[in-house]
């Protein structure tokens, strides 16, 4: 019955299936919303955060989704600025994923602050010295850009497109997309970086503190770099999952492999940089403040050297090698494994830069602080995931996200189309059928 809205030349699951799916994910969403309301109306005592954990699961989720959403700005950069034209076949999806990640990040921030009604103070009383100020400005600006990049996609819906105004609007927007892509890349460079700066500037915390360039600690550059490196991997991972769910191919291999290769080289270079940073920090920075690795990775129940290994080797070196080597990259299993490891690696990095920072004792007489999130924190963190899935379901159903879909999945019996077209054009015949 909603076939009129479905893009031409592609097939979608029956309405009941679609609605059932929406229903299930919607339930999860509702659970998250309930938790969110609890946090807003009862306050943050609903969480397991405490004065040692001012930042916890939520900030991690923020950093993680923003890093993973990095696929949007980087693919945009590659397509519109560098001119990797094949990427037009995946850029839509990259944008959509980016849009989901960034809107989620903003939502989580709105729950995370103790006085949401005063959230705008961050703009009103902005402190130029604070990395968070930089984050707030660039984040919102870039979210605006993503919206602008997402709108033409919406306007390409079969019905909307019939409206000349929308048609022209989206057309013109497409023309100017390069400008937005450039702006997006620029903004992303800064907010990804300043998110890295958030931990790096904490000179009172030897575990987090990093020297750097001008006003920016090394973590600033490492974060931008890692977002650009791992973001595309995430886009590709989600694309793969979508293909599995839709049970059809949506993007051609050459496109996937191109992006995977670029991601691979980025991860490779990033991992080298990360290793240099870690080495310098472990041998110069921390000892200069009287601490050594053992202070950071022993003496507690959770944080051990394993986390270094998991982040840098499993999440860095391994995926880099897989994606760089052509044979491995071309093998879907290896490729997806690499995407998965990469996503794990960058998420773990953000975890370390938020939660382990809070856990490590600083004063010699202080103690390790371990924490586990309350169900309200978990629910509100899953909330954006559910919201993302829903947005993808709807967008995928009604928008031409994957330009190559029709070509990759030609619809066999034309009749189906005919009937649809028919019923559509003459609704008044419907009763007669009965």
């Amino acid at each position: 019955m909603d076939s009129a809205l479905i893009p031409k030349g592609v097939k979608r699951c029956p309405m009941w299936q679609f609605l059932l799916g929406l229903g299930i994910v919607g339930a999860v969403l509702a659970w998250g919303v309930y938790a969110m309301l609890l946090c807003w109306f009862k306050g943050l005592n609903q969480t397991n955060m405490n004065d040692y954990y001012g930042f916890a699961l939520w900030i991690w989720a923020d950093l993680a989704v923003i890093a993973l959403g990095g696929g949007a700005f980087f693919s945009g950069l590659l397509k519109y600025i560098i001119g990797k034209d094949e990427l037009k076949n995946i850029i839509n999806y990259a944008v959509l994923i980016g849009f989901i990640c960034y809107s989620s990040a903003l939502l989580i921030l709105a729950i995370d602050i103790g006085q949401p009604l005063r959230g705008w103070f961050i703009f009103w009383h902005a402190n130029v010295h604070s990395m968070l100020t930089e984050v707030a400005f660039c984040l919102s600006a870039y979210f605006a850009v993503l919206t602008i990049e997402y709108i033409p996609l919406i306007l390409e819906n079969r019905q909307l497109d019939k409206v000349p105004f929308f048609h022209n609007l989206s057309h013109n927007m497409h023309e100017t997309m390069a400008v937005f892509a450039a702006t997006g890349a620029f903004l992303s460079f800064f907010h990804q970086g300043s998110l890295g700066g958030v931990a790096g500037v904490l000179f009172g915390r030897p575990f987090a503190f990093r020297e750097g360039l001008l006003i920016w600690p090394w973590t600033f550059f490492l974060f931008t770099w890692s977002a650009a490196a791992y973001g595309p991997s995430f886009t590709l991972l989600i694309t793969w999952i979508t293909e599995k769910v839709a049970r059809k191919k949506l993007v051609k291999d050459n496109v996937v492999e191109l992006l995977a290769k670029i991601s691979g080289w980025m991860i490779f270079t990033y991992t080298i940089a990360k290793i240099c940073d870690t080495t310098r920090w472990a041998n110069i920075t921390a000892p200069g403040l009287g601490q050594n690795l053992a202070d950071f990775y022993t003496g507690n129940a959770f944080y051990g050297y394993w986390i270094l290994f998991a982040e840098i080797i499993l999440g860095g070196v391994v995926p880099a090698i897989i994606l760089i080597s052509a044979p491995l990259r071309k093998n879907p299993t290896w490729r997806v494994t690499a995407f998965f490891l990469g996503v794990m690696g960058v998420s773990l990095n953000r975890w370390v830069m938020v939660l382990q920072v809070m856990a490590v004792p600083i004063m010699p007489f202080d103690t390790w602080a371990l924490y586990y999130p309350s169900w309200q924190e978990v629910a509100t963190t899953i909330l954006p995931v559910a919201y993302g899935i829903i947005l993808i379901m709807i967008s995928y159903r009604y928008l031409p996200i994957f330009p190559q879909e029709a070509e990759l999945n030609p619809i066999e019996e034309e009749t189906a189309m005919a009937v649809e077209a028919h019923t559509e054009s003459t609704p008044d015949l419907k009763p007669a059928n009965a």
Binding site: Q115, L117, R118, W120, F121, V163, P164, F165
Partner: protein
């Protein structure tokens, strides 16, 4: 169609733009911030004229001067009174919390009578007239039956006009049963009498001593007058004075001392005598002030030579000799007695040994030494003219047996009250009046005490707070708290001069309460006859002013009266009390391999009164977590029982059992467990009730045969993984 779409679209876009440009969103944002800054449920304290009013703190016997900051009629902060002879501007954690008691929800807000079962907490508000009627009727009935002696009164202290009025009331009414909360005072008075042959109390010139030897006295844990002692301890640091703390546990006082000497619990007397022996043997003792030494010297040298003492105390013989020499050779040495806050009596043997040690330095009644001075006896009232009923009652023996038989020297044996009520007494107790005392929380073997209280037919509590004892009462006649009333505050607390402070009302009574002094005078008048005659004053204030006579003006001006040139009760001492037996811990070693000792913390009132929320907030999470109470245990002992930090365990003593959690502490002797005093309240509110364990429920009184006082310093215990 198209037109519609267009116009619709422009409407939407235009509308959006319009709203954005209009002041509306900005106004909303601004309002949101303002509103979130003064949520109606966040209180905004009213401003007003600020004044400071001086008074005296009575939350402990310390006698500090306080200066209360007021905004209009509200008291907002208690500070130390600068220039005051005791505390000169400083104040302790308890004194600071006074306002939470004054305005706290656990105040008893009006007279009440019990309507439910005892301890059930069902009360009915009544008028003061009705309360007086109930009380006088009850007392008159009993007295007319010639049973006046079956009425008893228990007060927190016996010095000052209010306790004196209670005593006078009992005398005129005809009961010998006035009692005072047990404390170190009891044994102090008795020992002073035994050694100096006169009534008086000790004072310690801590400010001028140049060597301090403390037998477990918590000089920064609440001993004596707490703030004065803190200041002295800092003075010692500045002057680099050797301070030796002898104690089985690394208390805060031990940590402040220049040297901590761990000792087997309960063997302090042996060490004191061992040190005395070394001094005598080496001829470094100054026997000028001591008579009767010759008759006892041989025993001393024989029984307390260093090797033997080392055996009992667990302290190296060399250390004993070293300390003895350091102590004796100092110019103004001083030995302190009374464990922790000195809130429980210690054995006569121990007290006498330490006081004699002071005497053997020739520093008695000297600068920097121990003094024995009379209490300021400013309460000069004509004797009570007793009628026949009263005389008959007064001829009866005391319920607690104090002052007779083997207890001739003891004035009060409050620790024996429970036993006598539970059947051990000469006659049944019919009415108990309780003022400024909470025996149902701090008396040892508290369950036993509560059982006894349950058997008392009629209990009247004058407490201002819903404490454990008030919970057992039949009639509540709540007193003002110290910030609402006039009262003279004679200060002992180890001061070397006589001192009287004055409590003044800094705020008007917050609830429908009455001054206890007032209540006593009015009850007496209501009962008429010789009782009324014994109370000639119109009201308490008149009584107080007349009693203080020429001191009144000084007190009204400066808030404190001090007499520095008090003559000591005697210049020299007669050896006594040394043949008194040592007091052993209850329980047999086989079934109870460990020792449990209570310790005092300045952050808790040790059962004195309910801790305010502020104090509980300051308590470490190694003492209470949630409602769990912790015991301190040496890691060696803990691993022996298979316990780790924070583990739960069952602590059993001959008197009771409790679920505790363990805190591993290297500062405590293996085999010894320490539990803080003052927790485990069953009364008061959620800020205090149910937190931790009341150590008094695990420890029973151990009677010192030579005095009759409870001299328990600990009890044998066992610990099992829970």
């Amino acid at each position: 169609m198209k037109v519609d779409r267009r116009s619709f679209l422009s409407f939407v876009i235009g509308g959006a733009a319009g709203t954005a440009l209009s002041p509306l969103p900005w106004k909303l944002m601004d309002d949101s911030s303002i509103w979130s800054q003064m949520w109606p449920w966040t209180p905004v304290p009213p401003d007003g004229e600020v004044v400071y009013e001086d008074s005296t703190c009575t939350l402990c016997p310390g006698g500090c001067g306080i200066s209360v900051r007021k905004v209009d009629s509200r008291a907002v902060k208690i500070e130390g009174q600068s220039g005051h002879p005791v505390n000169d501007g400083s104040i302790c954690i308890l004194g600071l919390s006074g306002l939470q008691m004054l305005y706290g929800p656990t105040r008893i807000k009006s007279p009440m009578k019990r309507i439910g079962e005892r301890g059930e907490g069902k009360w009915q508000k009544i008028s003061w007239d009705e309360a007086f009627a109930i009380l006088t009727e009850k007392l008159t009935d009993i007295r007319d039956k010639g049973e006046a002696h079956t009425v008893a009164a228990l007060a927190g202290s016996d010095s000052g006009t209010v306790p004196a009025l209670i005593q006078r009331f009992m005398a005129a009414y005809g009961s010998p049963n006035f009692m005072r909360s047990p404390s170190y005072r009891d044994v102090d008075e008795l020992t002073v009498k035994a050694l100096f042959g006169a009534d008086g109390r000790t004072g310690f010139d801590v400010e001028n001593a140049d060597y301090v030897l403390s037998f477990g006295s918590g000089f920064v844990d609440g001993w004596g007058s707490p703030v004065r002692m803190f200041k002295a301890a800092s003075l010692w640091k500045e002057k680099d004075i050797p301070v030796v703390q002898v104690e089985p546990r690394l208390s805060n006082s031990a940590a402040k001392a220049t040297r901590w000497i761990p000792i087997n619990p309960g063997t302090e007397a042996d060490l004191a005598l061992g040190i005395a022996a070394v001094m005598v043997a080496n001829g470094i003792a100054d026997t000028g002030d001591v008579s009767g030494l010759s008759g006892w010297e041989n025993d001393l040298l024989a029984n307390y030579e260093p090797q033997k003492v080392a055996q009992t105390t667990g302290i190296d013989a060399a250390v004993i000799v070293e300390v003895a020499k350091g102590f004796a050779r100092a110019d103004r040495p001083l030995a302190l007695c009374g464990r922790g806050k000195a809130q429980t009596a210690v054995s006569l043997r121990e007290t006498a040994a330490v006081y004699i040690l002071n005497a053997l330095t020739g520093n008695i009644n000297q600068e920097g030494g121990m003094w024995a001075i009379p209490e300021a006896d400013y309460i000069q009232w004509p004797d009570v003219a007793t009628d026949n009923l009263a005389s008959a009652g007064l001829d009866q023996p005391r319920l607690d047996g104090a002052g007779t038989g083997k207890y001739t020297d003891a004035r009060y044996l409050t620790n024996r009250l429970a036993d006598s009520v539970n059947g051990g007494g000469p006659y049944p107790l019919q009415v108990l009046l309780v003022a400024g005392a909470n025996p149902c929380h701090y008396l040892p073997d508290t369950q036993h005490v509560k059982a006894a209280f349950a058997r008392i037919p009629f209990i009247v509590s004058f407490s201002s707070f819903q404490d454990e004892t008030a919970a057992m009462a039949d009639l509540l006649m709540p007193d003002h708290v110290y910030l609402e009333r006039y009262e003279d505050v004679p200060v002992g607390a180890g001061l070397v001069q006589q001192m009287i402070g004055l409590s003044k009302p800094v705020v008007s009574p917050q609830f429908n309460t009455r001054h206890l002094g007032e209540v006593l005078i009015m009850t007496a008048k209501a009962m008429g006859g010789s009782i009324a005659d014994a109370f000639p004053w119109d009201d308490y204030e008149t009584c107080l002013e007349e009693t203080l006579a020429e001191k009144w003006d000084t007190l009204m001006e400066t808030g404190v009266w001090v007499r520095a040139d008090t003559d000591p009760v005697a210049g020299s001492i007669q050896l006594a009390g040394l043949d008194a037996p040592a007091v052993q811990a209850e329980g047999d070693v086989n079934s109870f391999p460990l020792l449990l000792v209570p310790y005092d913390s300045i952050q808790l009132t040790s059962g004195y009164m309910g801790e305010a929320p502020f104090m509980i907030k300051a308590v470490s999470d190694t003492v209470i977590q949630g409602t769990d109470g912790f015991i301190e245990i040496n890691p060696l002992t803990a691993s022996g029982v298979g316990l780790g930090e924070g583990d739960r365990a069952t602590l059993t003593t001959p008197r009771g059992e409790a679920l505790v959690r363990v805190h591993l502490f290297e500062g405590i002797q293996p085999g010894v467990l320490a539990m803080v005093r003052g927790l485990g309240h069953t009364a008061y509110d959620g800020y205090l009730a149910g937190k931790g364990v009341n150590v008094n429920e695990l420890i029973g009184p151990v009677e010192d045969p030579s005095t009759g006082f409870d001299a328990a310093w600990g009890i044998r215990a066992k610990l099992d993984k829970a």
